[in-house]
Amino acid sequence: MKKLVLLVAVLAVSLTSCQTENTDVTAPADYTFLRDGGNTAFMGGQTDRLAMGGELGSSLKDFTKSATDLQEMFANEDASGNNVDPYTSAALNASSKSVRSKTAASVAYFSSNASSSAAIKADFDNWISSQVSEVFSTKDSAAAPGKSGQIADGSSARYVNSMGLEYDQVILKGLIGAFVTDQILNNYLDPLTLDAGSNVDDNDNVLLETDKNYTTMEHKWDEGYGYLFGGADDKVNPMSTLGTDDSFLNKYLGKVVADTDFSDKGDIIFNAFKLGRAAIVAGNYEVRDAQVAIIRETISEVIGIRAVKYLEAGKDALAAEDWGGAFHDLSEGYGFVYSLQFTRNPESGSPYFSQSEVEGFLSDMMSDGSNGLWDLQSTTLSTISSDIAARFDFTVLQVTN
């Protein structure tokens, strides 16, 4: 990380001294990119999908919904692929976008791995249907080991399956990885997308898309940006509302920067998006790729930090026999651990944790006894937390203090 920043700084310094080559790049103050006075940065599809995911999230706790209703909110089509209108927002119903089709769908990780993509989509499909068949159906009874139902978390009621798991939390936090992070890091910011076809030549020659004010490469970058900042009302200056603009990565990046140990993570990511976009305009792909590396590392770290945060909070709550509080934290943790398989280590080009490592963690969480989270031991959680932290550049203590 430090090396990368240094490299960028050196580049910036050295490039300013050779302006004749027209390759010096500096990050603008905000995410304003104009051409002939007109805006060039558009991310409406991302804004829509984040809003669709938000409606799905609240509906997962609406007992009047059927499994079909929820599945249609996830996919924005019915089981036969026909158009449906599952949202309360007319604008979203009019949109053809879908969360499910962008889940485990990045070019880098899944374009030649259809079986893995299908298996991950099936995880979400199953969690959604189980939320109705297992959890909605027992909403008026008390949860117990081996028995789904509701359980108190302070003054709130949490609705868990027979293992203590809240599916709605698993789904939402799992989508932060499988949908949002995968799309940003492994799809839109990947050279396979940015440099696809004639994108580089077109960008160098400022060949705009038909009837658009942007080059394809510019637009791909903006779409990546949109999965983090597209929920903001002010997409040009989104940092003042960070944490409040969606239920996904924006929300949890907001929580991460609230911890003084990690307060710079938001600015690091935002600056890298700005500088990378400016680099595309300048045709400087070295600077662009350095920003990709920063974004990959930092967003991956955010997933890791939140995973550890919830596992450790769950551990404390279990020790206090605060079952409802513990299950809520652990269900969020379960989703963030699931999301680790969609992270991207800029040096290796692989996830920080492989799919099988993630499966191992999740299986460990659920198999200390026959009743899942009810039997979960603090040592199991400590091991997973420290394994996660060890692979990133932070410590468990930084997360919990």
């Binding site: 108190a152 003054s155 009621a157 949490r158 919830y310 404390d316 206090a320």
Partner: protein, 357 residues
């Protein structure tokens, strides 16, 4: 001399912590916690008797007697609300007893349709806002006079029976918790270490949490709009009664102050307490002991509460600055206790919540 020696220090005087927790835990159990639950339980038992008499014969006199028994029990609750540790916590008793504002629509419907048999499952967390004193307050206190109340209940058997059922639930819970303390007492006393799950650490956390969230925020700060900028007269405790809100707050404040100072429930003795523990550690701010600063601040808050003569909902609506001044005085001790006292005891605050959703 000691004052001179320590006057330049802030709070840390490097006194070794040799405080023996066992006598304090024993004293708390025998002189404060169990007597408080015993008293509350006898009040809930009285309330059950009065509810039955009223339900059998809804006269004006029986209504007034019943209403007085509810206020007495609601006041008694303020003395145990922060003593939820152990059996009470396992029963979610605080949420079941005093979650407000109550869900009036739901309570009204259930009461009107109640036939003595179709009792909802009040053990479920989703029903916290449909039971306890706030629901009883709603059913019992929204009449212009005792006459009109007695007339209403004479003509409506469902609400009459349902209010008795709610009262029974409270009594069942309090009797069960009191009984549990027979066995939990030794667990509580023997858990005398200093880990996060030790009795003192949990009690200190429960106490400070309750002071901050229930007494300061729930009863005063939230209705006065401290956290939102909007005042919420409807979120006052016991909103449907005329005078209960200030009575209940003052009971709660008194109970907190006395627990801090180690005054026994019967007021006859003073024993090991947060106050004495702070003195043992010689915790001072400038030349004044922290124990005195906190005890004195409780008195200041009490005086501030005494300036409020109207009901809290009226005060929030018409003279909110009185509520805000009271909040400010309560806030002073939040910091004294949550920061300075907990640090002195080396107890980590365990309720910095991770998440709101």
């Amino acid at each position: 001399m000691a004052g001179l020696l320590f006057c330049s220090c802030d709070t840390n005087n490097f006194v070794e912590d040799t405080w023996d927790r066992t006598p304090m835990l024993t004293y708390w159990s025998d002189e404060i916690i169990i007597p408080s639950w015993t008293s509350y339980s006898s009040k809930t038992a009285n309330m059950v008797d009065a509810a039955e008499a009223f339900s059998d014969n809804p006269t004006v006199t029986n209504y007034d007697v019943f209403k007085a028994s509810v206020l007495s029990a609601y006041g008694g609750w303020q003395w145990v609300s922060f003593l939820e540790i152990g059996p009470g916590e396992a029963e979610n008793v605080r949420y079941r007893t005093n979650t407000y504002p109550t869900d009036t629509l739901n309570v009204a419907n259930t009461a009107l349709n109640y036939n003595g048999l179709n009792v909802p499952n009040l053990g479920l967390p989703s029903t916290f806002a449909q039971q306890g004193f706030p629901a009883i307050d709603f059913l019992l206190n929204r009449y212009e006079s005792s006459d009109s109340a007695a007339t209403y209940f004479s003509n409506n058997e469902g609400p009459r029976l349902y209010i008795a059922a709610l009262v029974n639930e409270l009594n069942n819970a309090s009797q069960a918790i009191l009984l549990e303390w027979n066995t939990y007492r030794s667990v509580f006393i023997s858990n005398d270490g200093s880990s996060a799950s030790s009795s003192l650490n949990k009690m200190a956390n429960d106490y400070v949490f309750h002071y901050e969230k229930e007494l300061r925020a729930g009863k005063i700060g939230i209705p006065a709009g401290v956290f939102s900028g909007n005042t919420y007269p409807g979120k006052v405790e016991a909103i449907f009664s005329d005078t209960w809100s200030s009575i209940l707050f003052n009971e709660g404040l008194k109970a907190h102050a006395r627990f801090f100072n180690g005054v026994s429930f019967d007021s006859l003795v003073v024993g090991p307490s947060f106050s004495q523990y702070l003195d043992h550690l010689n915790i001072r701010r400038d030349d004044t002991t922290l124990s005195f600063i906190i005890a004195n601040q409780f008195n200041i808050a009490k005086q501030s509460a005494g300036t409020i003569t109207e009901t809290y909902s009226t005060t929030v609506g018409q003279d909110v600055f009185k509520m805000l001044s009271l909040f400010d005085e309560l806030q002073v001790n939040t910091i004294n206790m949550k920061t300075d006292m907990m640090q002195a005891f080396n107890v980590k605050v365990d309720y910095v919540d991770v998440d709101g959703d």
